[in-house]
């Protein structure tokens, strides 16, 4: 695009102002997070200005706090269950979405993104009514798992379907020409090749679940996940310990997402590397 030779007196000025704007935007985006992380090292116990000194005390407190461990354990357990459900249901649903002769394809596609578009609040309260008034289930991490799975599964579907759509059908045809039936085709040809997308979807669902708050708030009953624990602590006020916990969570989410998106590439490189060595 840079070859658009704009002959204008204001070209330089325009370029400058847009660049300045971009810098401001990035500052705007990162400032709150930078402040959050900075205050987690602030010795000031009120978690605000002035900066009275550097300390790792708050991080130490985080690691020693049993309530945080409890919340983390619940968070991880819930996230794991949500991931399994989402991945299985989502991957299974991606196949007919891409490959079958669906009559209302675009309608179904929109329907599939509805759980993402509908505010989490509504998913939470509607499931609350269902669980307590109709099924008379007790609220527990399990009910939260169901609520979160409703929200995360469409993401898995979208990711796997995108990969499946770009899947070369010649491969399957070759396999079936060699005598493979449907099951074997699936097991030995399709699934291994779309596995990176499935893994990415799984990691995505896992991260979404860890961060999920509003649906969980309604459905988890007396238990705590990390976001809910943070929410409780915010009622006490901003404490540096919460900042430390928040910084750790930030870092973990980012790490997981980096893995989610580089894992497929890394796996592919591994596979080619082995093949090259064999050749």
């Amino acid at each position: 695009m840079r070859d658009v030779g704009v002959v204008s007196r204001h070209a330089g000025l325009a370029r400058l102002s847009f660049s300045v704007w971009a810098v401001l935007i990035y500052l705007f985006l990162f400032a709150p997070i930078a402040v959050l992380v900075a205050f987690s090292f602030n010795a000031n116990e009120y978690g605000t200005f002035p900066f009275t000194g550097w300390t790792m005390d708050w991080y130490r407190q985080v690691f020693a706090d049993y309530q945080i461990k409890d919340a983390l354990y619940t968070s991880l357990k819930v996230a794991l269950e949500v991931t399994v459900i989402s991945t299985v249901v989502g991957t299974a649903a991606a196949f007919p979405l891409v490959r079958s002769n669906l009559p209302f394809r675009s309608g179904i596609r929109i329907g599939m993104t509805l759980p993402i578009m509908i505010p989490g609040l509504l998913i939470g309260v509607s499931l609350l009514i269902l669980m307590t008034s109709v099924f008379h289930f007790q609220l527990s991490p399990q009910t939260a798992v169901i609520g979160q799975a409703v929200y995360t599964t469409p993401f898995v579907v979208l990711l796997v379907a995108a990969r499946l759509q770009g899947f070369d059908p010649a491969l399957e045809r070759a396999a079936s020409d060699l005598g493979a039936n449907t099951l074997n085709r699936l097991r030995h040809v399709v699934l291994p090749l779309i596995m990176p997308a499935i893994l990415a979807g799984a990691l995505f669902a896992f991260t979404l679940s860890l961060d999920e708050f509003i649906i969980t708030l309604f459905l988890i009953g007396g238990h705590n996940t990390l976001p809910i624990y943070i929410y409780t602590q915010v009622k006490f006020g901003i404490t540096p310990e919460v900042n430390a916990l928040a910084s750790l969570l930030l870092f973990a989410s980012l790490l997981l997402l980096v893995i989610a998106f580089t894992l497929p590439i890394a796996l592919r490189k591994m596979r080619f590397a082995y093949r090259a060595r064999r050749a």
């Binding site: 706090d65 991931t83 291994p192 893994l199 007396g222 009622k235 596979r271 082995y274």
Partner: protein, 366 residues
């Protein structure tokens, strides 16, 4: 292994994933000591000023019972939550006249106070509230009490606001903070408009109270979900007036805030008597005694007073405070006069709970 054949099969990846997942799950508790198998979790539905994090940690260490608090901001919400959640919660902190309602609805159960050794540390008066007696048993373990009054920042509020009508002054637009408890706010509104029984108002009285509330609304900065939010608002001067518990002036000073003064409204006000009760459907009733016994020991109660400023019912803690040099502060905040608690209009469920909540919601929107 098929990896060496240059092909990662689904089986391998499933194994990898499973191993990773297992690792993550086990790594979670491994920040320090692994979760002990004998630890039982006591889930509490409570207010933020009923505990401190280090207190819970110490109790957990001593008894193996780990408290897990969930905060609520309105007695009516807590009541409904207990009703809906069955055995999720083990302890609920009920207020004043809500305690008998819980018992009557079969949500909590009375117990023998003498089963709790720590109850001997209480003022004897606290063990004999008539409205908490159930035969020879007691419905709840008494914790704290306070009136709800006006605290103001004299730097900005030049005339002492000693009546509920005074705080309607337009000067205070957006400068008042109070707790988001619809039933109790309506009761205060009732007091402000002359209702003799703020918790048993007629429709006409409710209407009048609602009108007062409407006039108050523009002056409200924030409806706080816990009283320490009111303290913070006063401390950082975003609020000039707070409607909250005894001891707020000390708490604001401790939070490095300005000097605030108390004003007792001449129309009268409400007050609460806080407690801890056994949830009837709890699965840990057998250790409830042990847990509360450890939680309510005098040293913790004394610390709680220093942090939260309002009087409690633990007499031994009062003596500790005197020894620590906080006697004057304790006496100023009426710690040694628990009998005054009975003179308050004690918080409780309203006669027509739905009408109270509707009126409040219709003013504040949410």
């Amino acid at each position: 292994m098929s990896v060496t054949e240059g092909r990662l099969t689904r089986a391998d990846l499933l194994k990898l994933g499973g191993a990773g997942a297992l690792g993550l799950t086990l790594a979670g508790p491994a920040f320090g000591r692994p979760l002990s198998q004998e630890a039982t979790t006591m889930t509490m539905l409570t207010w933020s000023d009923h505990y401190a994090n280090n207190q819970l940690a110490a109790v957990a260490k001593a008894t193996g019972l780990r408290g897990r608090p969930t905060l609520f901001s309105d007695n009516a919400d807590a009541y409904l939550k207990i009703k809906q959640t069955g055995s999720q919660f083990d302890v609920v902190s009920a207020d004043g006249l809500w305690v008998p309602k819980y018992v009557k609805s079969g949500l909590t159960e009375p117990f023998d106070l003498s089963d709790l050794p720590v109850s001997k540390q209480l003022f004897s008066l606290a063990r004999q509230f008539s409205f908490w007696k159930s035969g020879s048993n007691y419905m709840a373990y008494p914790f704290s009490w306070s009136t709800v009054q006006i605290y103001y920042n004299p730097k900005y509020v030049k005339t002492k606001p000693d009546s509920w009508q005074a705080i309607l002054d337009k000067k205070y637009a957006g400068k008042i903070s109070l707790e988001n408890i619809p039933t109790d706010v309506m009761a205060i509104a009732g007091r402000a408009t002359g209702a003799k029984k703020p918790y048993a108002m007629t429709s006409a009285q409710i209407s009048r109270a609602k009108q007062w509330l409407k006039e108050l609304k523009p002056n409200v900065l924030k409806l706080a979900s816990q009283n320490n939010e009111v303290v913070r608002a006063l401390a950082d001067e975003s609020a000039w007036i707070g409607i909250t518990n005894l001891g707020t002036d000390d708490r604001v000073k401790d939070a490095r805030g300005p000097v605030v003064k108390a004003a007792y409204p001449k129309e009268g006000t409400i007050g609460f008597i806080d407690s801890e009760s056994i949830v009837k459907r709890s699965k840990h009733k057998d250790v409830w005694m042990k847990y509360i016994n450890a939680l309510e020991q005098a040293p913790w109660i004394a610390k709680n007073f220093i942090t939260n400023g309002r009087p409690l019912f633990n007499e031994k803690a009062y003596k500790l405070l005197v020894n620590q040099g906080h006697g004057a502060r304790a006496r100023r905040l009426l710690y040694n006069k628990p009998e005054l608690a009975l003179k308050m209009t004690i918080k409780g469920p309203a006669g027509n709970q739905q009408a109270y909540i509707d009126a409040f919601n219709e003013v504040f929107g949410a």
